[in-house]
């Protein structure tokens, strides 16, 4: 067990280093931060001095070495654009992204499971056809269009919900939350729905397929033969066995929701790490961009690590393999 975890940890470290390296390599070619940092009337001499001051005249490997050395201490340097420590900027904005990600995951999970069950149980109903068609359309429309459409209908025309931002926030320790105020909750609705639609469709189709599969199995037939109520069969037996893959997928998808909330955050001016990243790209704010990519990689690596360890605990075959295999 310990050897397995140690091996997985080592793999994770290598993945992180590779990601950091790629991030650094790519960002070297996205442009020159000095163009955004210095004023229009800066002289050539000022450019040269600033380049030296920021260490941009150093060879690539030296810059990368300092980046890794500082990152290991949690230091990602100072944002070129906002002049604040990058780690502090990311931590400040993380609550907004996490709240949005969880809200959208809950919507996706509840909506997806309910619709999945419904469409599985009423296979031939007209409503099922409509839901399935709508879900296909929903998946094929780009997120930003859905966002803009929702803003147009619910903010501009109906004036029911805010079109941007996070509303009033409350500070609890270092966690700044919008979940405790009315305007915060109202602000959450549209972006959370926008971000949830893709996951919702995915979960719905997964639940429907699993459910149909399970409904055909022998034990459901036997249950029917035993005269159990429809409710007991559908929810007590069928659903329970459907949920295992759904939970796995939802857990894994949570990582990608956090990582890829970028578009939704931009459309709704949601002050999370995604919009921080987008604003940083425009200004070639390399320290923020690199730190963000490393952060996203960390989220994925940690989630995968947990999943692997859980499988290891749950599935005895893996344990045998680990003992005898090597």
């Amino acid at each position: 067990m310990l050897a397995f975890i140690a091996r997985r940890l080592l793999q994770s470290v290598i993945v992180m280093l590779v990601v950091a390296f790629i991030a650094f390599l790519v960002f070297r070619y996205v442009g020159d931060p000095l163009a955004a940092l210095l004023s229009q009337d800066a002289k050539q001499a000022d450019y040269d001095a600033a380049r030296e001051r920021l260490g941009l005249d150093q060879p690539f490997y030296v810059q990368f070495f300092y980046f890794v050395a500082n990152a290991l201490q949690g230091q990602f340097g100072i944002s070129y654009r906002l002049q604040q420590p990058v780690s502090q900027l990311i931590l400040e904005r993380l609550p907004a992204t996490i709240e949005l990600a969880f809200a959208s995951s809950i919507i996706a999970l509840i909506g997806g499971v309910l619709l999945g069950i419904y469409t599985a149980l009423r296979q031939r109903a007209v409503s099922t056809g409509i839901i399935m068609t709508l879900s296909l359309i929903g998946v094929s429309i780009p997120t930003f269009l859905i966002g803009i459409g929702l803003i147009y209908v619910f903010a501009v025309e109906l004036k029911w919900l805010p079109s941007f931002g996070r509303g009033e926030v409350v500070q609890i320790g270092w966690w700044r939350t919008g979940l405790l105020t009315q305007s915060g909750l109202r602000s959450l609705i549209l972006p959370a729905i926008t971000l949830s639609l893709f996951q919702l469709t995915l979960i719905m189709r997964l639940v429907r397929a699993e459910m149909l599969e399970v409904m055909r199995t022998d034990y459901i037939r036997f249950a029917r033969a035993r005269g159990l109520s429809k409710r007991a069969i559908n929810f007590g037996h069928a659903l329970k066995n459907t949920m295992v893959p759904v939970i796995t997928i939802t857990g894994l998808q949570l990582g990608s929701v956090i990582a890829f909330a970028i578009i939704t955050e931009t459309v709704f001016q949601w002050p999370g790490v995604g919009s921080l990243f987008v604003n940083s790209v425009a200004a070639v704010d390399v320290p923020v961009m690199a730190a963000y990519l490393v952060f996203v990689a960390l989220v994925f690596v940690v989630i995968n690590l947990i999943v692997d360890i859980l499988y290891f605990i749950v599935d005895p075959r893996l344990r045998v393999g680990a003992k005898t295999g090597r």
């Binding site: 229009q40 800066a42 050539q44 002049q83 903010a155 004036k159 941007f164 931009t266």
Partner: protein
């Protein structure tokens, strides 16, 4: 039940009364990007200055017509008998937000800080040798030589409180390499009309009016300055009533918003021109099929290129009417501008073709045009339009379109044969254009002289402008330089940009030519 209803009514009435008495007018104002910092000398950048002007003040202000106005200085002039010294009389009775008195000491401290190594404002004060106090409310600036237009350089240099700055260790402007932030990035203490209530970077900055301000109390008492990066979302926020004023309105939305019930758009010229530049010199171009000469170096080719540039068509089609075509790379506010220089020729394809034949390029040539695609209004579309126009005389252009962060390094390294750029003139004087765009490229001049144009005679005149002590002679030299620049077609100006601010009916915010609107100028119907 009855009781609680009565209580509710009472609360409602009380709250209405409170609002009535305070007569607070809050303006919610959205723009595409935030100020970079609140450190007043760290960045020389429009958005940053815009916010700073509400909190801090400068010695001199700038009216919406471009003229200088008194601010923290009430009078200014050259010292009698010595054209190398500027004397400023400071406003009396001014207090900083923390209650400290504003004195000559603060001016000396602030100018020295603005001149210091990591300040982005230092170029504007390069000619200042020292600043000294005559008394508490008079300061003298000793210049390297006569500097007639120096007061123009003061309109974005903010005055800090020396005592407060010393308390928070602010003598050094934020230095990225040191890895430390400084206190003034998020905290302020100015003499301006508003004080900082809260700031959430890239999200929201809240200001409230400063009761002790020396000026007339502004109609706007509270400001919520919001960053909304996405243009659609920004306009939606105005339409849904969540904000009152929106800057950076996309041209395609200007007409629509103006025609929408309950909203209006204020339009005015911006102090910024858009131009094309090309490479000079005998050396062949990097991106052309002509490998034995540089076609742009031929004056006939440049004339032909101007004769196919249909500035009015670009205004009509690309800019939807929202631009001011121009024949000179110099906005009308700026000293040195004349209607004669501003005139531009009508397109004449036949004549242009004849010129190309005369120049020895009857079949034209190929070249790459570098253009930014996220910096100026419709920048890429302007370039695309010109590519089509040049095609009429056989100049086949490949368009290389990039975000400004990638475009700028290419430009600064003189790695472009043909490019689009825009330029603002914050000093409102032609010398600013000459120094960076016309003067031969050196460490201190011609930073944006991308085409490496070089005319030693002009260089001498440009340098002389900096130290002339007779305003009439200086203006005459400016005119001489412009005549050469125009005749040589050193740059190919297209138009001056136009600014549009959209707002709800009942609020009026006039357009500021440097795109630095001030909420003290807002009026309510």
């Amino acid at each position: 039940m009855q009781k609680s209803l009565a209580r509710l009514t009472a609360v409602l009435i009380a709250s209405t009364v409170l609002v009535g008495v305070a007569n607070a007018e809050t303006i919610r104002w959205a723009r595409s990007s935030d100020a970079l910092t609140l450190d007043p000398h760290s960045q020389n950048q429009g958005n940053t200055h815009t916010v700073a002007h509400h909190i801090y003040e400068t010695l001199l202000g700038r009216d919406n017509d471009g003229s200088l106005t008194p601010r923290l200085a009430t009078e200014w002039g050259l010292k009698e008998g010595d054209p190398t010294v500027w004397v400023f009389k400071l406003r009396e009775g001014v207090k900083f937000h923390n209650g400290n008195d504003f004195t000559a000491e603060d001016v000396i401290y602030s100018i020295e800080r603005a001149k210091s190594e990591f300040s982005n404002m230092k170029q504007l004060h390069a000619e200042v040798v020292s600043v000294s106090a005559v008394d508490d409310h008079t300061v003298e600036f000793q210049m390297k030589g006569p500097a007639l237009i120096y007061p123009n350089n003061l309109t974005n240099t903010f005055i800090m409180d020396k005592t407060w700055s010393d308390e928070h260790d602010l003598a050094v402007v934020q230095d990225f390499a040191s890895g430390a932030s400084n206190y003034s990035v998020l905290n302020t203490n100015g003499t301006g009309p508003y004080t900082l209530v809260s700031r959430e970077v890239d999200v929201k900055t809240v200001l409230t009016s400063h009761d002790g301000w020396w000026g007339e109390k502004p109609a706007v008492t509270d400001i919520e300055y919001l960053t909304i990066a996405d243009a659609q979302t920004r306009v939606s926020a105005l339409l849904s009533g969540e904000v009152d004023i929106v800057q950076d309105v996309p041209p395609q939305d200007i007409e629509r918003l103006g025609n929408t019930e309950g909203f209006k758009v204020e339009i005015g010229p911006e102090n910024r021109f858009i131009y094309f530049g090309y490479r000079f010199g005998e050396e062949p171009l990097k991106s052309s099929n002509i490998t034995d000469s540089n076609p742009f170096n031929n004056p006939q080719v440049r004339e032909a290129m101007e004769l196919v540039l249909d500035r009015d068509a670009i205004k009509q089609v690309v800019m939807r009417g929202q631009s001011i075509p121009t024949g000179i790379p110099n906005p009308p506010f700026v000293n040195g501008w004349t209607p004669e220089l501003d005139a531009y020729p009508k397109p004449d394809i036949e004549k242009a073709k004849a010129l190309m034949v005369e120049a020895g390029y009857p079949d034209g040539f190929t070249v790459t045009l570098d253009t930014p695609n996220n910096r100026y209004v419709n920048d890429e579309a302007i370039s695309t339009a010109y590519v089509g126009m040049l095609g009429q005389i056989g100049i086949k252009v490949t368009l290389a379109s990039r975000p400004v962060a990638e475009h700028s390094p290419i430009i600064l390294a003189n790695n472009s044969d043909f490019y689009l750029l825009g330029w603002g003139v914050p000093t409102f004087d032609s010398a600013y254009v000459f120094n960076d765009l016309i003067h031969s490229k050196t460490d201190l001049h011609g930073t944006y002289n991308v085409g490496l144009y070089s005319n030693p005679e002009l260089d001498e005149k440009i340098i002389a402008l900096g130290t002339m002590d007779d305003i009439a002679a200086r203006d005459a030299t400016i005119a001489e330089i412009w005549n050469v620049v125009k005749a040589d077609r050193v740059l190919m100006p297209v138009h001056n940009q136009v600014l549009a601010y959209a707002m709800r009916e009942g609020v009026t915010l006039p357009v500021q030519p440097e795109n630095q609107p001030n909420m003290t100028t807002v009026t309510f119907d």
